[in-house]
């Protein structure tokens, strides 16, 4: 078997952890991160890859040369808005390396080339508005509830995109977006435009439902990544609290629902 020098192994370790951090930051499941790291290591001729995942960092060790040479490194992960296309691209790159027997430089090159697959922002706004409006329909709203929810959540999505463009923290983005959505929905209640005002109020903030952190936290926890499960659970709770703060502020401003 070919010997791997210390410098080579350091480079491989850097490449693997770069891919792993990218997946963690953009919201991949823990099991997927660990498996991808191990598959990359195997494809590049490392004996084994061991990693310790916590919500804010990754510690990764690689062993090579019959488990006699070890390289360990740590990276901080800064959580960003969920982006599944990046996670898919990293996994596709891993698959390519296994299939085509590429070397380390291929990983660096491929990771540099990954571009987030952004949809046209006006299309996303329209679709999210329509989604929340469908939600209003599914929970039993009338026809005017459908259109008011569409307007409220389209405006909310516009706010969310503007704040995301200015790189605000997710908590502020969520609170402010919920505020905008509830103001529009609450105004429709004041002017009595619909017979089902509660449906509008609840459906127009559904675009802020932290589905990814909640589901990922359950998936991580049942697969044995308990610390990650708690971390993501906390993240989801924080985002829900931020949304609630936005809703409460808007209701207080319009003096609705007992304020």
């Amino acid at each position: 078997m070919k010997k791997i020098t210390y410098e080579e192994q350091t480079k491989i370790t850097r490449a693997i952890i770069k891919a792993a951090v990218l997946m963690l930051e953009f919201g991949a499941e823990s099991k997927l991160i660990e498996e991808t790291a191990q598959r990359l290591g195997n494809a590049l001729g490392i004996d084994s890859v061991e990693m310790s995942l916590i919500p804010s960092a990754i510690v990764l060790s690689t062993l090579s040369n019959n488990q006699t040479q070890s390289v360990t490194t740590t990276r901080r992960a800064h959580h960003k808005p969920i982006n599944m296309s990046i996670v898919c691209d990293v996994q596709k790159m891993c698959h390519n390396i296994e299939k085509e027997k590429q070397d380390v430089d291929f990983i660096f090159k491929a990771l540099k080339e990954i571009q987030p697959n952004y949809y046209n922002r006006w299309l996303v706004m329209f679709m999210v508005g329509l989604s929340c409006a469908s939600f209003a329909y599914l929970t039993g709203g009338d026809i005017s509830a459908f259109f008011i929810t569409f307007i409220a959540s389209t405006l909310a999505m516009f706010t969310r995109q503007e704040l995301a463009k200015r790189k605000f923290v997710m908590i502020i983005t969520f609170a402010f977006t919920a505020f905008v959505a509830t103001i529009v929905a609450g105004l429709s209640q004041i002017y009595e435009l619909s017979s089902t005002p509660n449906v509008i109020l609840s459906a127009s903030v559904i675009l802020l439902a932290p589905g990814f952190p909640f589901v990922n936290s359950v998936l991580d926890a049942v697969k044995g990544y308990l610390a990650m499960g708690w971390g993501r659970w906390m993240q989801a709770v924080l985002l829900t609290v931020a949304t609630s703060i936005g809703i409460i502020l808007a209701l207080a401003l319009l003096s609705l629902k007992g304020w």
């Binding site: 919201g27 991949a28 499941e29 997927l32 969920i82 982006n83 599944m84 296309s85 990046i86 996670v87 898919c88 996994q91 596709k92 698959h95 987030p116 697959n117 952004y118 949809y119 299309l123 996303v124 679709m127 999210v128 329509l130 989604s131 929340c132 469908s134 939600f135 329909y137 599914l138 929970t139 509660n198 449906v199 109020l201 609840s202 459906a203 903030v205 559904i206 675009l207 439902a209 589905g211 990814f212 909640f214 589901v215 990922n216 936290s217 359950v218 998936l219 049942v222 697969k223 829900t240 609630s244 809703i247 409460i248 209701l251 629902k257 007992g258 304020w259």
Partner: protein, 153 residues
């Protein structure tokens, strides 16, 4: 009857599609997310029509979508959550969660009454149980493939 199912399926597919776009799902996976949303919501309605309670129906519906997504992810080499999380969006207990928050606000503003506590516990419990049902339902199909078979080394 049938038209109602189809209409509901279409209106469930739209949120799944919209949220898939917010999560930046790759283009070719979008159509599967829409199908997933329709499958999840329709199976929940059918189960509810068979007199299954809402919580259990949600759990079974998300188990179904978990199994379907297992098949899709193997076929297209795309991680499973990409499909599943967009698909369960129409099942989310949005109204219950919102009502629970409103109940809390009312308790703070008008004083705590037994009726409000009843409402709050009812809504909060429904929210938590449905959320847990969705999460566990999605997790079960993939847990089936995990075994304790690591050799001692």
């Amino acid at each position: 009857m049938i038209t109602e199912y189809i209409l509901n399926a279409i209106f469930a597919a739209i949120p799944a599609l919209g949220f898939a776009m917010v999560f930046n799902v790759p283009k070719h996976a979008l159509i599967y997310c829409a199908f997933g949303g329709a499958i999840a919501y329709t199976s929940r309605i059918i189960l509810q029509d068979l007199n299954v309670p809402l919580e259990l129906a949600t759990f079974l519906a998300s188990t179904i979508i978990g199994i379907v997504a297992l098949y899709w992810s193997r076929k297209f080499i795309i991680p499973r959550p990409v499909y599943t999380i967009a698909s369960i969006i129409p099942l989310l207990p949005g109204t219950f969660a919102f009502s629970a928050i409103i109940n809390l606000i009312e308790m703070n503003a008008h004083g705590v009454t037994p009726e409000l506590i009843n409402l709050f516990i009812e809504n909060g419990l429904k929210t938590i149980i449905i959320l847990g049902g969705i999460g566990l339902g999605l997790a079960f199909p993939s847990l089936y493939n995990i075994r304790y078979n690591r050799a001692i080394s």
